[in-house]
């Protein structure tokens, strides 16, 4: 990666990063890095990542970072922001951490309009633990715990996070869904999220992402699943009041 394509706030010492080939995390973190560079926030940002694949980003940036688990990244950032409101707090997690085990934290932070930015990576599976069904697994999608395809009658329908949060957020909170298929658009959404935080409001960006390791897909099939099947169910959009 050239100097031009690597965000300034990326920690060179931890590159190349540790994600699998074809994983979308690197692109989400690139979009975040570019947004932080553009807003010149590296000097006052704290980044927290969760358990699962996101934890591989624990030393990803030049700014302070930490790692926890089970979606508790959200309350850690809530506490940190209240302790030191000058910091820009970014909580980074997967769909399991944010939409399953840590959902009460995500919803409560949204309800309180806590001025933090949550970035949630939706790749439709629990990836680090070996490809189990996630709240975001698509109907009929095969995973280790839905080996015959997700049965929505038995397990419910996939969660649409930003749409769900829209029902509870403050009118000036920022909600969006982006995709690693459109990195510059994703960067713009993250930028707006960070700006909402600076204006004192909650922000949440879901990033549609890829997991060829657990999807067991070729490069072309990976991209097709992201753009077609995920894109059909999860609409890339800003969800403003």
């Amino acid at each position: 990666m050239s100097e031009r394509s690597m965000p300034r706030c990326w920690n060179r010492e931890s590159k190349p990063h540790r994600f699998c080939p074809g994983c979308g995390h690197g692109l989400v973190l690139k979009a975040l890095g570019m947004a932080i560079d553009e807003l010149d926030l590296a000097g006052r940002t704290v980044f927290a990542c969760d358990i699962g694949c996101s934890l591989l980003a624990w030393d990803f940036f030049t700014f302070p970072s930490l790692q926890t688990h089970h979606g508790r990244t959200t309350p850690v950032m809530v506490g940190l922001k209240r302790a030191d409101p000058d910091q820009i707090a970014v909580a980074y997690m997967g769909d399991g951490g944010g939409y399953a085990i840590g959902l009460q934290h995500l919803i409560s932070a949204a309800l309180r309009d806590d001025p933090i930015t949550v970035i949630l990576v939706n790749n439709t599976v629990y990836a680090m633990t070996g490809g189990q069904m996630a709240p975001t697994t698509l109907p009929g999608q095969k995973t280790e715990t839905s080996p015959f395809g997700r049965d929505v009658d038995a397990t419910g329908i996939p969660v649409k996070g930003p749409e769900m949060l829209k029902a509870v957020v403050h009118p000036e909170a920022y909600l969006a869904r982006g995709t690693v298929a459109q990195v510059l658009k994703l960067k713009k959404a993250i930028q707006k999220g960070l700006e909402a935080q600076m204006a004192g409001h909650f922000s949440f960006i879901e990033a549609l992402s890829t997991c060829p390791t657990n999807w067991r897909t070729s490069a072309s099939a990976t991209w097709a699943f992201l753009e077609k099947e995920m894109g059909d169910y999860y609409k890339v959009a800003e969800l403003m009041h």
């Binding site: 934890l55 302070p64 930490l66 926890t68 850690v76 506490g79 940190l80 209240r82 302790a83 934290h105």
Partner: protein
């Protein structure tokens, strides 16, 4: 800012108010709390008093959030605390385990209630094992057990100091009786007794961002290989062992040549002390031992006390052997002459009952 207490102010109040006053006096800056009986009034008093002293409060969605939010605040150098009980203490194990791993000095006051599960909101001493060893780790915590409102005040203040000095998460273990009953005590400003400020500082931040010890730039909680974890744990365990002699506290009444050592902690320790004092006035050769720290446990002091008591002990507690197990472990390799127990899980114990349990 007004002073949190007049110098040596004689007061009469509930234990929960004592805790809130002590946290204020210690300079605690933020409380993250979630309602659970019998600790609720700690939050109530703190919430009413906090604005006067520019301190913060947030009622979170659950105890997990309260614990983790404390950790976030602690990471940026704020003196943060919470209070809980019973099922709440169970939920606190997750943030407390992270605090052990990352050495984050969070303070949690536990007003023990009956267990297991919902059980009673009243009283017990059943959260000893949970506070000492509840996490998925090695019990790298400090646990104080108080027996009076004065101790509740003194040791809540001390908990903040020791947590930040040694960087271990710290519990103050009270109970429903201590929480709800009123008792006389002296409130004071720690500075008036020569105590400096709690040595708080940001633990996560940019290099050079504070003078008093460099913060960490990247903190993690996950390790790729066994050896990596073993190395960091070796260091944490060595720090804990090294600090233990400075942390351990106990009370002992007696002298060499006694026939029995009565051991109890917390509010039961108070009833046991009274029973032993009465028996001693009657010429009985009975000694008394009360651990003030349950973790680290005052092992050497207990062994010395046992040596003075014919290596015979009676453990009294409102639980089924949680203190008993700690005492057995701490009693050393040499066989005990007697190991008597008086266990009343979830039920209060009186001086008279303890007197009757003593057989010489």
């Amino acid at each position: 800012m007004p002073q949190t207490a007049r110098s040596e102010q004689r007061s009469f109040m509930t234990g929960n108010e004592v805790v809130a006053r002590a946290a204020l006096a210690a300079g605690a800056e933020y409380m993250f709390g979630y309602p659970i009986t019998p600790q609720n009034e700690i939050m109530h008093y703190w919430r009413r008093l906090a604005p006067r002293y520019q301190r913060g409060f947030l009622q979170t969605e659950d105890e997990l959030s309260a614990g983790f939010a404390c950790l976030g605040a602690v990471l940026r150098g704020k003196i943060a605390f919470s209070a809980t009980a019973g099922p709440g203490t169970v939920l606190f194990q997750e943030p407390l385990s992270m605090a052990e791993m990352m050495r984050l000095p969070v303070v949690v006051i536990v007003q023990q209630r009956g267990g297991p599960s919902t059980a009673t909101v009243i009283y017990s001493q059943q959260e000893v094992t949970l506070t000492c060893f509840g996490g998925n780790g090695e019990g790298l915590r400090l646990v104080y057990s108080t027996s009076s409102h004065q101790e509740l005040y003194d040791y809540t203040i001390k908990a903040f100091h020791q947590a930040w000095r040694y960087r271990f998460p710290t519990f103050v273990l009270g109970d429903g009786y201590q929480a709800k009953m009123r008792e006389a005590l002296f409130l004071y400003n720690p500075e008036d007794r020569g105590m400096g400020a709690v040595p708080a500082r940001p633990l996560l931040g940019h290099k050079g961002s504070n003078g008093n010890g460099e913060p960490q730039l990247h903190l993690r909680n996950a390790f790729s290989v066994e050896e990596e974890l073993a190395e960091i744990l070796r260091k944490h365990l060595a720090d804990f062992d090294e600090a233990a002699p400075y942390l351990e506290e106990h009370e002992f009444i007696g002298e060499p040549g006694a026939n029995l050592l009565v051991v109890a902690h917390g509010i039961v320790g108070r009833a046991a002390r009274e029973a032993v004092e009465e028996l001693r006035r009657e010429g009985k050769k009975v000694n008394f031992f009360r651990p003030l720290t349950l973790r680290p446990f005052p092992e050497k002091a207990l062994q010395q006390a046992l040596a003075n008591s014919n290596r015979s002990m009676l453990v009294v507690e409102s639980a089924q052997g949680q203190l008993g197990s700690l005492c057995r472990l701490a009693s050393g390799h040499e066989a005990l002459q007697r190991f008597d127990t008086f266990y009343r899980p979830g039920v209060g114990i009186t001086t008279e009952e303890i007197r009757e349990a003593v057989t010489l």
